[in-house]
Amino acid sequence: MDEAPSYPRLQRAGDSAWLVNFGERTDDPVNNAAVAFDAWVRAEAMAGVVETAPTIRSVLVRFDPLAIGEAALARRLKAGLAERNWLDAPPPARRTRWHVPVCYGGAHGPHLDTIAAEHDVDAATLIADHGRSAQRVRMVGFAPGFVYTGTLSELWDVPRREELSASVPPGTIAVAVRQTVLTSTTIPTGWHLIGRSPWRAFQLEREPPFVLAAGDELVFEAIDAATYDALDADARAGRNVAREEPLD
């Protein structure tokens, strides 16, 4: 397309969904906009809207086209978009900062040393840097409780690995392209495995099974292998092993 598209814009995703796109960027303002607009759509509780999901920079709005026409829904969404400058939206109120225990390196994070060697730093420097600041949850997707956070320092500006790890366990902490991902189920991945947490964003045996909300933050805190084993036993018993810090 020749003309540059303007944002926010509605994109048709089949006959039963609109994607509300806030821009081809991955920064805080677009993520705040997506989270805030998702909350607006939910609060409107429009008949015919089946579900919504905020992503890194957009909101998926699934609907039943026999219950609400796509044009009628588009008008409602556009009216909502016009209500304010969503890129100015603050993070949601009453969000949580999760202090997530991580056992870095070794068997739990076999690729930590590779990244250290590439940047000519030691693993301890990387671990300290990874836990240095809170990381925003930018999206939950790909798999149940699969969390994307960002943005990390340039030490973590590494491409995905060429080789796929066929099966990594729940709780895996992996990095690529200045992002962290945290898994809750067993999946294949091409990301660099740097550690493992006994905590899960999704755990069926725990009540509630899903705990993260859009806008939450994660702070990764290094633990040793013995602590990992102890917390892992707690987590398996259904306990939440990440410390919750209320924000705002």
Binding site: R12, G14, D15, P65, V140
Partner: protein, 339 residues
């Protein structure tokens, strides 16, 4: 009190408990899942006189063998027709019948289509997980212990309110699709006009690389190339999205897809054609036709009307009566058997 159950003597190739899925959790990374051919769930419900929300066994290409344990079990067979015998006697597809205690239902190969469904009177009684009885195979929850059926498993029937009447549908089975209708996708304009025309002009074949998550399509040489390369930010994807990964071979995303993805999506299959697409056997030819959104909604309306009318097309089946009945003039039996 014991409830009717089936023992799994042979599990088939890839059989899992599915219902209409668990919408509402995409924001937590859970796609809606559920039966790949929901039409079959509505047909099974009509044949057994029960709710379409109940779970059934989705079987892939080969059915398996099942024996009624303890007491009689009412079953229905829908979706892609498989060779079917009850204690050696041929059973027509799209019917409901009663298996007497000890009787074995043998389901062979799919004769056309891919996914067949075995329903129990009262549904398959497994605990709902996150609001659904569908098996999420990747994450290992829902359905029967979160996994495929194995030899020796038992399928417990739920509470059934109906009597043991053998029934059939006096409607022809849906035709196999050869033209699959689509809307242009979120990233259609990442492909130039020549590539989009080539996409519509290609006769594809569903490759053997397919499962409940998606189906890779063969037939385009070379693969399709987006103009700006592949640098998209990962975003939410929906069922029916046709994404074009690095090798240029389109993939149609299905019920168990990953809920987010970063590949460009050239088009999206309309809701009404998705079950028919999922049923295409590997190797079956198809091409895509772009329609207007209004046409997609009209097709969905007709699709739902078909489900709503199924109950009027259920009638008692006399012993020995075969599929010939589908050729009978419409309405001959209507009224006499209307529920």
């Amino acid at each position: 009190m014991t409830r009717p159950m089936l023992e799994v003597l042979e599990p088939g190739l890839h059989s899992s408990v599915q219902d209409l899925g668990r919408p509402g959790l995409q924001h937590q990374g859970v796609a809606e899942g559920g039966a790949l051919d929901p039409r079959a769930l509505f047909e099974g419900a009509a044949l057994l006189g029960q709710a379409p929300e109940l779970a059934a066994l989705e079987m892939t290409a080969i059915g398996g063998a099942f024996r009624a344990e303890g007491e009689a079990v009412r079953v229905a067979l829908t979706g892609a027709p498989f060779e079917a015998r009850a204690d050696g006697i041929a059973v027509p597809w799209r019917t409901a019948l009663t298996l007497e205690p000890g009787q074995t239902l043998q389901l062979g190969k799919a004769q056309n289509g891919l996914y067949g469904y075995l329903h129990l009177g009262g549904g398959i009684d497994v605990l709902p997980v996150l609001g659904s009885r569908s098996t999420h195979l990747r994450a290992g929850f829902g359905g029967h212990e979160g996994r495929l059926m194995r030899k020796g498993d038992h399928l417990q029937a739920g509470e059934a309110a109906t009597t043991n009447v053998a029934t059939m549908l006096d409607l022809p089975a849906p035709d196999a699709l050869t033209v699959v209708r689509v809307l242009w996708g979120v990233h259609a304009d990442e492909f130039d006009e020549a590539e989009r025309n080539r996409f519509l002009g290609t006769t594809f074949r569903v490759s053997a690389k397919r499962d409940r998550m998606g189906a890779v399509l063969d037939g385009a040489e070379p693969g399709f190339t987006p103009e700006r390369g592949r640098t998209l930010i990962s975003d939410a994807v929906v069922q029916g999205d046709i994404q074009v990964p690095g090798d240029g071979r389109p993939v149609v995303l299905l019920a168990d897809r990953q809920p987010t993805g970063g590949y460009p999506r050239i088009a999206t299959v309309i809701s009404a054609d998705l079950p028919g697409f999922a049923q295409l056997p590997s190797g079956a030819p198809l091409r895509f036709e772009v329609v207007e959104p209004d046409a997609a909604v009209a097709a969905l309306r007709a699709f739902r009307a078909y489900h709503a009318a199924l109950g009027r097309h259920v009638r008692a089946r006399r012993p020995g009566e075969e599929l010939l009945a589908v050729n009978l003039v419409d309405g001959v039996y209507a009224g006499a058997t209307e529920p």
